[in-house]
Symmetry: D2
């Protein structure tokens, strides 16, 4: 069977620009593309026929469970369940990165309210506290003193989800204009990087919080680190967020189901096409 | 440095009989034992000195995060973060087992209410529905008809935790007296197996729900499957739950932070001692 | 100042057919109508100028808080905060009805899992269990035996909202075709009643669950009871749900922010106009 | 029947010092006292025999539902369901107080995240934001700038309880040493008042947060306002919290199931005895 007869299923929950672009690009490369809404159809363990699987659900757990079921059926989804859960949970991400000697912000984990105070003492103000699960900057808190510390600890302790009770306590990495760097890595190749520059009055560089995106002209160093991070997380199609710390770049995050609208806009790179081409290359081997 | 100079830290949140037994047994083997309450002390990523780590927190996420942070620090905890998350989440467990050709109950995953109805149609009544996260039989529901199906779907849809919205829909495996089989595997060796027999009026065989425990005299077959399951999950110290299906044994669960009070009572096997001996053997290599 | 110079504010969160109809009808009666989105604008305590207030937020708590703040400002909203909270919480409703010697289904309240078993024993199967807060039939469960009892008790115990931990345990009132009766009362006058007939396979008569609506030709008796219930709850514009028990009618529910689309369809009565006329009459006094 | 033959039931969930004291004092006055654990026994609507009821559950909703069921049965509990819900929900409390022309802190209610920003603009920093339900100072936040505002709004929006989405936005009332005043009112009589002085580093005067208690020598003015507040809430046995604002006292809170351990310690007043005597007086009438 030649590659162009292959079926690619795109597993989604809410179709974003990204999913539409990916489907179009895969078709352009000659694949037969089938969208699969994971909220509509159940996923049987066993008995699924061979296909290429792109995991694209917005909900991390939906992506994770879809990837896992596919793996049960002998399929190697892009990305794997390992990549999705280890990049989807920030404590796991930082741990894998550190285990692979990749620099990260100075980080202390606390598993409930009491020990959080000790974690704050170890890091010192200003510090960043965030829960392991979440996106778009949600609940990522810059804490400047004990007054703010108390607010965050109290509010978090009232959330019932066990993951919300865990605190990632970090040094606050001061960056020029609060901007961070996002690189896109496909199959071990770095497509390029962008700056994400927070909007006025916001310290977090999430596009969902109004950040601007600007292409990085010189991205060699960032790309090098991003590729290492992607490798550590075994990610085939991932974006990686980096911080410029005074002593060099550190990795803050790996996205296992990456959005790329902003990246495309800033760089002009057709990410969907690169992914489709990567899928084709992979098949040929 | 000879093995007896090694420090073993036992990471716990609520000290149960199991943790106390383990600490005693480790001391008896000559280790220096240090209990570590993960709710009291924060866990820094990086900078931890070498030691042997036993992960024993009741809360799955606390165990997971502790293991991950230790791995970041170059330590190989017993069990690893991989074993804890993949055995702690039932969808991931079933997927890894199936991917390794280990028989499991017929299972369909549904990621929200709508597709759950389809999953029920695929499995047929009576069926079992359970969420991916949970212990002690909690929310594991035997559903006999659409009336009960509606009750479960409605109640689950009102829970806010994203994992609670996922449904594991399974064939109901009819077992003699509803009993299941639990085996204990340490370092690839099966210590033995027990039956767990539900109390009158309960169909689930959880000891927390009043089940009785009885030693399995002939456990060769069960042990063989248990060892395979432990291997698939890369578990060093795990218990494995099996069901006797008409066509043979299937694996239902792997416990990455296993309780063993009931197992000890039924078999007379000193699990804690076996674990301590395993730790020693491992070190010698 | 003559009545037609009065401003009527309609407080809403999601504008339904009902709110649109009400605004139109009030304008037709000559009022100046101002919609007020309670999710967009804050509500100051004190300093609000005089107006007529119709409370129409879908969320019970939003309606309640809006009514309360208006009362703080000397306004008498339709309905009052008392009517909204006492009809919005089913335990409070049943209590007020019973205190006013209005017949209700045989009911036992249990405040957590343990005592729920005793409540079930007091009522006997089949029985109905429902939480105090909720609409559209959600979580209203018909329980036929201990197996179903366990499912409901376990699921409810996992919900974190304190109100979800309370159980209203009731005799199951067998009705012809499972239909119940809904009457509409405005300013102490009963506009009429309808049957709500559940769709095939559903025992609950909620329109949101697919029920059909049919006009009641002879509604004298139902209306009489409905007016008494409205009075007990001090409701100016309310709908009342009744069950036909073998020994006569019993009141199941009072809706303090009533929907009336189905009622209009079945009876041809222009509820919005009746409400507008009532507001005008009230002002004249 | 003479008063001393009367049964007094004390409805509780967790027996605190207060409940034990009350039972002892009631016995000393000659009553037959029966403790009733509302988490163990269900509460049938109808058919309860006459008795005096003291509502003392720590959980506001348990107290509320117990009082309501008793009222259904013709009993007048101390306190009534009206007092418990209107004092147990801070938005309802402030509204009733304001409706009765009792001074309160300047307050704006917002029913979700968006309008909260407008509410903050109306009040200005520093301000206090708190949810309507809660005790012991939990989630009561002093907000000094937009950075802290964002933290609170984001965290609250992630809580699923509908009441947690409502914001009470208030002027921050600066008080000497951050102390507030608590008075105790029984049957319309003010027993006295205390200062609650926050511990070092804490701005909230909750005893649960380490505050100290000191008797108020001159409490005439405070008592006068407290009695009015008790009356507005129809509370028979209540404590009232007051703030010393520059222009005079304002009422912050009414407690419908009041704790009084701290009050006793500071004033030497035997609150339980006063309550028991009040119950006896009431019966004589
Ligand atoms: N330790 C930190 N130092 C400085 N800025 C940080 C730090 N952590 C997070 N941020 C800022 O907050 C944003 C969101 O944090 P992040 O950890 O990426 O969470 P999310 O996955 O929700 O985007 C980052 O893009 C960055 O701008
Ligand atoms: N598919 C099934 N068929 C029959 N019994 C089952 C099935 N799934 C679960 N059970 C019963 O319910 C118990 C609890 O289920 P399990 O999946 O082990 O969850 P938990 O981790 O909470 O114990 C099992 O030990 C078994 O007795
Ligand atoms: N005790 C009962 N006996 C029989 N049917 C009931 C009983 N309670 C509820 N129902 C059915 O369930 C429907 C929904 O219950 P209800 O208490 O009205 O809750 P909701 O406010 O969510 O509609 C009712 O309209 C009725 O059809
Ligand atoms: N508007 C305010 N100004 C100043 N202090 C306040 C204000 N609101 C609350 N506080 C402080 O916070 C404490 C707790 O707030 P309160 O509204 O009484 O909630 P709780 O019922 O949880 O005690 C108060 O006792 C007081 O010390």
């Amino acid at each position: 069977m030649s590659w162009f007869q292959f079926v690619v299923k795109v597993y989604y929950d809410m179709p974003r620009v990204e999913e539409k672009r990916l489907m179009k690009a895969l078709e352009d490369e000659g694949f037969e593309v089938k969208p699969f809404n994971v909220t509509r159809e159940p996923l049987p363990i066993g008995g699924v026929e061979d296909h290429i699987a792109l995991i694209r659900a917005v909900s991390m757990f939906r992506s994770l469970y879809t990837a896992a079921v596919l793996e049960a059926n002998g399929i190697t989804p892009i990305n794997s369940s390992f990549t999705i859960i280890y990049s989807g949970d920030k404590i796991l991400t930082y741990s894998v990165l550190a285990a692979n000697s990749i620099p990260i912000p100075k980080t202390v984990i606390s598993l409930n309210g009491d020990s959080t105070i000790k974690a704050y003492l170890q890091i010192g103000f200003p510090l960043v506290d965030k829960p392991p699960i979440g996106s778009w900057g949600r609940l990522v808190s810059l804490i400047r003193d004990w007054h703010e510390a108390n607010i965050v600890i109290e509010h978090r302790s009232m959330m019932n989800n066990p993951q919300m009770k865990a605190h990632i306590v970090q040094e606050y990495v001061e960056m020029p204009e609060h901007r961070d760097i996002r690189c896109f890595v496909v199959g071990g190749n770095c497509l390029g990087c962008i700056y994400r520059i927070p909007k006025e009055g916001e310290w977090r560089s999430n596009v969902a919080l109004g950040a601007d995106v600007v292409k990085l002209d010189e991205s060699t160093e960032a790309c090098e680190l991003a590729v290492k991070a992607a490798e550590a997380l075994k990610g085939e199609v991932v974006s990686i967020d980096l911080f410029e710390r005074k002593d060099g770049l550190v990795v803050n995050e790996v996205n296992g189901v990456p959005e790329f609208k902003g990246f495309m806009r800033a760089t002009g790179i057709d990410v969907a096409k690169e992914v489709a081409k990567y899928v084709k290359e992979k098949l040929k081997k």
